[in-house]
């Protein structure tokens, strides 16, 4: 039986058939075998008919993921997509990798079992705002705090699509839907504030319509050691159309979108005329670049172990989209749960020797009858 995590697959799946090298520079993927030849987007498409509504933002995300994966250069058979229930969760059927379309809210739990038993796999979770934040909220926060080696793509369209249009835990207060004809009453979650509060080590946001940005965030998520949470603003053109329109409308988007880059001053606006300044209370305020000395303009530090800056950034988002940061809010290094679990198994074997069943059964007080 293999000790280092290949699910006992007679060593076959244990990276034995691929180079275990770390040549690509993706530290988190160092145990995942690399593909022999060059891959293309086509390698990741399946023959299944895609069944999302025409015009759904999911199409754009699917294309972005399919065209991004060849960059990682991983063996296709060592990539797995796990999903829950909802429109977004149909995603695995369209990826020519291994896939598990599971049950509502539980994808992070199922993916945790897979990722913690198979270090040679790149495990992705595809989920939505209802799946991840409502029925599956518990699993999400615990995956984040454990820092399991999972890449979680949270498609946030602020509505329930597959059940036909009820409000979701990210819908704005007062949302008129089939289940809330007089307006919804509950305050929404801010998914990134939640993830940062749950000790997430990689927390990012991107938009379905901006493929370049989306792929740059995916790249950083894939490289990250442990759980990456990527919120993707995704348009549901049937039940919540134009929910993110201000971020897409060419006439206003540059004035409200704050593109975060680690180590760079946080400046934005069509003419880069606006900036963020940390106020004495710890929150961020928007200032005119012309009005403040350069030293007062905040510099984005995604690697800061103290999560308060990332949290303050996450609070700038509002349902009205006055100022919306996108990019990597937080990316800090912490050992992942699965590598630590592996280390404990390895240590036990190293210090005590490989287990011997007969010795185990005969441990404790025994007596012999002749």
């Amino acid at each position: 039986m293999s000790e280092n995590g290949a699910g006992g697959a007679n060593g076959r799946a244990n990276g034995a058939n691929g180079s275990n090298g770390n040549g690509s520079g993706f530290a988190a993927l160092s145990l995942v075998p690399k593909a022999d030849g060059k891959q293309t987007m086509k390698d990741f498409k399946t023959d299944q008919e895609v069944r999302w509504c025409p015009g759904c933002g999911d199409y754009a995300i699917l294309a972005a993921v399919q065209s991004f994966l060849p960059e990682l250069g991983l063996r296709r058979e060592n990539i797995t997509f796990v999903s829950g229930i909802g429109c977004s969760s149909r995603f695995p059927y369209y990826m020519n990798t291994y896939g598990f379309h599971s049950i509502h809210g539980r994808a992070p739990a199922i993916a945790t079992g897979l990722a913690t038993s198979r270090p040679d796999l790149s495990v992705w979770v595809v989920t939505g705002d209802g799946d991840a934040l409502s029925i599956g909220g518990n699993h999400l926060i615990h995956a984040l705090r454990r820092n399991v080696n999972l890449k979680i793509l949270l498609f946030n369209n602020r509505i329930y699509g597959l059940t036909k249009g009820q409000y979701s835990p990210t819908s704005e207060i007062g949302k008129i839907t089939k289940s809330t004809p007089m307006g919804s009453l509950d305050s929404p979650f801010n998914p990134l504030s939640l993830a940062i509060g749950a000790e997430g080590t990689f927390v990012a946001r991107t938009i379905d319509s901006d493929r370049k940005h989306l792929q740059s965030v995916l790249r950083q998520a894939a490289e990250h050691r442990g759980t990456s949470l990527v919120e993707i603003y995704q348009n549901c053109n049937i039940f919540n159309d134009n929910a993110f329109e201000p971020l897409k409308d060419a006439s206003v988007r540059d004035d409200i979108t704050i593109r975060l880059e680690h180590g760079e001053p946080i400046v934005f606006g069509a003419d880069r005329q606006k900036a963020l300044r940390r106020s004495p209370s710890g929150s961020f305020e928007v200032v005119n670049v012309a009005d403040v000395p350069a030293s007062e303009i905040a510099v984005h530090d995604a690697h800061n172990p103290d999560p308060s800056q990332a949290f303050a950034l996450s609070r700038l988002d509002s349902p009205a989209f006055e100022h919306t940061p996108i990019g990597v809010f937080r990316s800090v290094d912490r050992p992942s749960y699965d590598e630590q679990l592996r280390a404990q198994v390895d240590e036990a074997i190293e210090t005590q020797g490989r287990g011997d069943l007969a010795a185990l059964l005969g441990s404790g007080d025994t007596w012999r009858i002749d």
Partner: protein, 613 residues
């Protein structure tokens, strides 16, 4: 002084005290001494769910019953011959089980006005004559212990706490138990507290010496070792045997064991035990909840490990949806249910067999799951291996129904020869198949391929949506759903062809009444059957390990007898299945008292049926 030595063939002792009095430890040590001496034995720990209920109250009473004999025995015994009561609450809670003439050892130091009042005694029963029908040994155990420990550098409280070792020493003398094991145990346990260690050793020895010198005990008892098959033995509880069975399943299959679990009484000890065995490649994951626990186990199975989850009835309720997903995706998964009294939270530390129908039917849709049950603590080892065999061979979740009695009870176990354990073949799908279909079935077992991530060329998607036969693509086709539903059922039904026919114990061949049980009632039913046969009556006995599917010959067995009695610790769940499946009018005998059956009561019930023939 020389004492009279009296031979006995069996004894039932119950140690009872406050939760903080160390009664479980005392019972456990006496058990180990008895096992080492070579008696056959069976134990029944009985303790409250509360960790430390208020001292001296009835809810705080904890007890440990041990039945040992010079012959093969099957139960922890119906009623104790000896009760050790460390305080008034322990006396009050247990006196009702004590037959007239039994020995009663009472720690009089604890029979204070205040402690008596706590449990509603107006006067001390030790003094008011109400215990006259017992052989009472009223002993100041606490103060004798404290006196024996004068001069040790320990607090008075620590000295008082050693009273359980004094009692153990006394009982060890009374029943001629070997003491080396306990002395070695105390040395190990208190290795880091040498003064406490010495005090406990001294208290144990003082108890022994007191027995030798006192006039309070004029008779010492001897129970000869039992005849056992030659071999190496140990004493084992159901939960430890089950954990060992899971480790063995990993070794025998070459699969890594992956346990996803959430702590719950009375199953947590399996998690504790397995977490110690990482050197076997066993991974244990304490999840955030029951749902995540089974989810992680299923995810691990998808990846080629043997996923296991351990829980009790309330946890099964939460795991039901994921078990259904395992049925739909046809992946191996072991679900261990250590049953306890329900419904809801029920009585967490008390036993019951009332999750059978939940295991059989507790899912949406047609979702057949194989169900098996161990029949004794040591048998949990074999049952775990059998559950793993079925799960891996047939790519299916399997529910194993243990119970609180088996989990915490113990018995001597003859260690199996590891070389004789069955092999389990994972049979992973091989890479590079051109026309791979994830739901193309093995013609014999109807099992689908187990094609795990990392296998080149077999990339595929599975999920809870209905799949097309063969290809596994999503399908809403009516005929396909009907076919797939029947195929999943046929696969589970087909397991019967690989299991042994139900064996019936009917030595005379003349019996007209069959007693059929399942799970943890085996010992009590077997003891009752022996008693009945000693009266000259004929009775047949059979016990089901496989509850789904039933053994192929069950219908024939049921129809071979005029009457079938089905004792269960529920309100008739197996009886319902038997009636529904076989149209046989079985006679249920049912109790749900949180305790195992007593052999005597079963004897009466079964004899009544025989005599009414």
């Amino acid at each position: 002084m020389t004492k009279q030595v009296q031979q006995l063939d069996r004894v039932i002792i119950r140690f009872a005290g406050d939760s903080g009095d160390g009664m479980q430890l005392t019972g456990d040590r006496f058990t180990q001494e008895t096992a080492a001496f070579g008696n056959d034995l069976s134990t029944l720990p009985n303790f409250p769910a509360e960790i430390r209920a208020p001292a001296g109250t009835l809810p705080g009473v904890s007890s440990f019953q041990l039945h040992f004999a010079d012959h093969d025995i099957l139960t922890p015994g119906d009623a104790p011959n000896v009760l050790v009561a460390m305080n008034p609450a322990a006396l009050k809670a247990n006196l009702g089980d004590l037959p007239r003439g039994a020995d009663l050892i009472v720690n009089t130091d604890e029979f204070t006005k205040r402690n008596l009042a706590k449990v509603g005694y107006a006067a001390s029963p030790v003094e008011d004559g109400s215990l006259d029908e017992y052989r009472v040994h009223a002993l100041p155990l606490t103060s004798m212990t404290v006196t024996a420990l004068t001069g040790f550098d320990i607090t008075k409280k620590d000295a008082e706490r050693a009273k359980n070792m004094f009692a153990l020493g006394l009982l060890s003398w009374l029943y001629h138990r070997p003491t080396e094991g306990t002395l070695a145990f105390l040395e190990r346990k208190f290795a880091k507290k040498p003064e406490i260690m010495k005090a406990n050793l001294a208290a144990f020895q003082a108890g022994w010496s007191y027995g030798e010198t006192t006039e309070a005990f004029s008779v010492q008892y001897e129970i000869k070792p039992a005849e056992h098959e030659p071999g190496l033995y140990r004493n084992i509880t159901g939960n430890v045997a089950l954990a060992y069975g899971l480790v063995a399943a990993g070794e025998q299959s070459g699969l890594s064991i992956y346990l996803g679990s959430y702590p719950i009484t009375p199953a947590s000890d399996i998690l504790h035990e397995l977490s110690k065995h990482k050197r076997f490649g066993v991974r244990t994951f304490q999840a955030e909840d029951e749902i995540a626990a089974v989810g992680a186990a299923l995810g691990a199975s998808f990846g080629g490990s043997l996923g296991v989850t351990t829980t009790s009835g309330p946890g099964i309720a939460l795991k039901s949806e994921t078990i259904g997903l395992a049925v739909a995706t046809e992946l191996p998964l072991l679900v261990i249910d250590v049953q306890r009294s329900g419904p809801s939270t029920g009585m967490p530390t008390k036993t019951e067999q009332a999750d059978l129908l939940q295991a059989m039917h507790g899912r949406n849709g047609e979702a057949p799951v194989p169900v098996i049950a161990p029949q004794s603590p040591a048998d949990c080892f074999d049952a775990a291996l059998e559950a793993a065999r079925i799960a891996v061979t047939y790519r299916t979740p399997v529910i194993l129904l243990s119970d609180g009695y088996l989990a915490n009870g113990s018995e001597p176990w003859k260690l199996p020869d590891v070389a004789d354990l069955p092999r389990i073949e994972p049979g992973f799908a091989e890479p590079g198949q051109d026309d791979f279909q994830p739901f193309r079935r093995d013609p014999e077992t109807l099992a689908r391929p187990w094609a795990i991530p990392g296998t080149a060329g077999l990339e595929h998607r599975i999920g809870g949506l209905e799949k097309a036969d063969g290809s596994g693509n999503i399908s809403y086709d009516p005929a396909n759903h009907d076919k797939m539903t029947r195929l999943r059922q046929a696969k589970v039904d087909g397991i019967a062809s690989g299991i042994a026919p139900l064996a019936v114990d009917d030595p005379s061949g003349e019996a007209r009444v069959l007693v059929l049980g399942w799970g943890g009632t085996y010992g009590a039913i077997s003891a009752a059957v022996r008693r009945i046969r000693r009266t000259g009556r004929n009775v047949a006995q059979a016990h089901l390990r496989h509850l789904n599917p039933f053994p192929a010959n069950l219908a024939e067995v049921l129809r071979s007898y005029d009457r079938v009695v089905v004792p269960e610790i529920n309100l008739g769940q197996l009886a319902l299945l038997l009636r529904g499946r076989f149209l046989v009018d079985v006679i249920g005998y049912n109790q749900v008292r949180g305790l195992p059956f007593k052999a005597e009561e079963l004897q009466g019930v079964i004899q009544d049926v025989i005599d009414s023939e």
